[in-house]
Symmetry: C2
Subunit: 333 residues, 2 copies
């Protein structure tokens, strides 16, 4: 697949065929996560709620799909140098695991204050983890320096067409699973950090069902997609915001992702930490799923009535389950 | 399907075709639960561990399969009378939900001290719940009296060929999923209460892979299958035993189930509450699954090294996720 048509990021669109090609490429290596439904959850929301349980994906989040799609396209001469990536979380785990599967070296830049479990997780797959100081070091410059020295390929977490195409396979799968159940989604919700997941999902959904609505969900204080969509241009979050949704702490939408998202998304929804904790509890009780805060945000929006879905069929992507026990238990206190 | 060949329970075998027929009957109504694998879990056990996540089934346990298979075979004249069942847990939820789907009345006998969440769960599906006193009332006599009066069919939790056949579809699915992943299980583990799940699974597995080993897993104090298999005849548990595995508190194996199990099972394994709590924690951390204690017992046996599976491929059925928040959190303390 070539994406060279557009020189200018603002003209970028993700071809639907890039997603179907990604699916053909990765399907043997990913888990087809189930589309779950609970009568009790339906009653709470007043709609048919289908939950795409992507927390059950390898490495505990959808990020494995994009990482896998990108890594499988390394040229033969690129494989010995491997991949460099920076992330404090799910992208790090996904790149580490994919590289381990493919026998390719991985170097991950993680902040000194990254959760111990995530650092250990990346190391457990055999990745080389380089810790850096958020205050004094520039991770992108460090990453480029390492890539130049080791002849490695930099794989960004979202602003990359093949990453978006890989994440878009979540959309392909949920559409096929809904169709098999005889259902046609009226709306689809997924959380947005850099916007790669929602860009891929929106492309799959709106190509197949042009009338379906697609919403990005974000925590309060990190509502850059909601405000950027309303403004028609990328805006930044104010510094200093706090949220338990650690996987959604990105200052502004990606360039390529926003080019896709501003055309395809219906809008953005915003949720509080309290609403997210309730959604984590409801996912435990009604679906028997472990949701990380960022993964529970779309369900939180539904439960909090941020969208009128009364009597409709709505799909919510539960995108990750990488949460430590203390944070998980905070949903019950 | 007719099961009339054997007048004597001890001669009963479950035909493989009863399981494939059950699968054809129920497949549109059940969730094909995923077969999950985690690199971290594999490292902990030292084997390839495939986890059949039946906690994600409708109503949170495998019981929905058997209930569905039985209820779909009600004769037209039986539908108005509906179903009577007794259970303090997962069978109650499954019968209630299936009857709600099929528009058939359900009456569930539950003990006065049943968990509130399970009583409320059964009621939420529209079942009529009749509470009884464990000390002074005989639930089977009560159930028969209600069935006679209302013209209802009694559906037992395990000692019924169609219930066993329904539970056996767990085995059919896991075999197909393993085959699709290019894997051949050396051993399969599932928990045993009355023995319906393990009887169905063993029939599916040993018919397809005669050399595979199949083990029943039970909590300490409720190891009636392990001891009955060793003795070659059904024995009872000593009264007064305690275990956090509330779904596995049955005094002795079923008659029909034991007739199947004593021919097909390799043996029984026993786990402590501490080992079960560790398995619940590991399922949370590595698989992002909510496991109830009884559902985590087979994983507990693997993690505690109760079986030498070094370098082998082993499937463990995680059979339910109906656990309240307090009990779940006890796995982390």
């Amino acid at each position: 697949m070539t994406f060279k048509q557009h020189q200018d990021a603002s003209g970028f669109t993700l071809p639907f065929e890039a997603i179907t090609a990604a699916h053909d490429r990765i399907r043997e290596r990913i888990i087809e996560t189930p589309l779950l439904e609970s009568a009790a959850l339906n009653a709470l929301v007043g709609a048919r709620v289908l939950v795409k349980a992507e927390s059950l994906q390898k490495t505990g989040s959808f990020k494995f799909r994009g990482a896998c799609n990108r890594a499988l396209q390394l040229a033969p001469h690129e494989r010995s140098g491997g991949i460099v990536a920076w992330s404090s979380g799910n992208h790090a785990l996904a790149i580490s695991a994919v590289c381990a599967e493919l026998g390719v070296p991985a170097t991950i830049l993680m902040p000194l204050d990254a959760p111990r479990a995530k650092v250990d997780g990346a190391k457990s797959y055999g990745a080389e983890v380089r810790l850096y100081d958020r205050q004094t070091e520039d991770r992108e410059a460090l990453g480029r320096e390492i890539a130049d020295r080791t002849n490695a390929v930099i794989v960004p977490p979202y602003d990359d067409p093949e990453i978006m195409a890989g994440q878009g396979t979540v959309g392909l799968e949920l559409l096929a699973q809904a169709r098999e159940a005889g259902l046609k989604p009226d709306a689809v919700l997924a959380s947005a950090s850099g916007g790669g997941l929602i860009a891929g999902v929106a492309t799959a959904v709106r190509t197949t069902l042009p009338d379906a609505q697609v919403f990005a969900v974000e925590p309060e204080g990190f509502d850059d997609h909601a405000r950027s969509l309303a403004a028609g241009a990328r805006v930044r979050n104010e510094p200093g915001a706090q949220s338990i949704c650690d996987s959604l702490h990105v200052p502004t939408p990606g360039e390529l992702t926003f080019s896709v998202n501003h055309r395809l998304l219906t809008g953005g929804l915003t949720v509080s930490d309290t609403e997210v904790r309730r959604a984590m509890r409801v996912a435990f009780e009604t679906l028997k799923l472990v949701a990380e805060p960022g993964g529970a945000a779309p369900l939180a929006a539904l439960l909090a009535g941020k969208l009128d879905v009364s009597g409709k069929t709505v799909v919510t992507v539960l995108s990750g389950g990488n949460v430590d026990a203390d944070m998980f238990q905070s949903a019950f206190s």
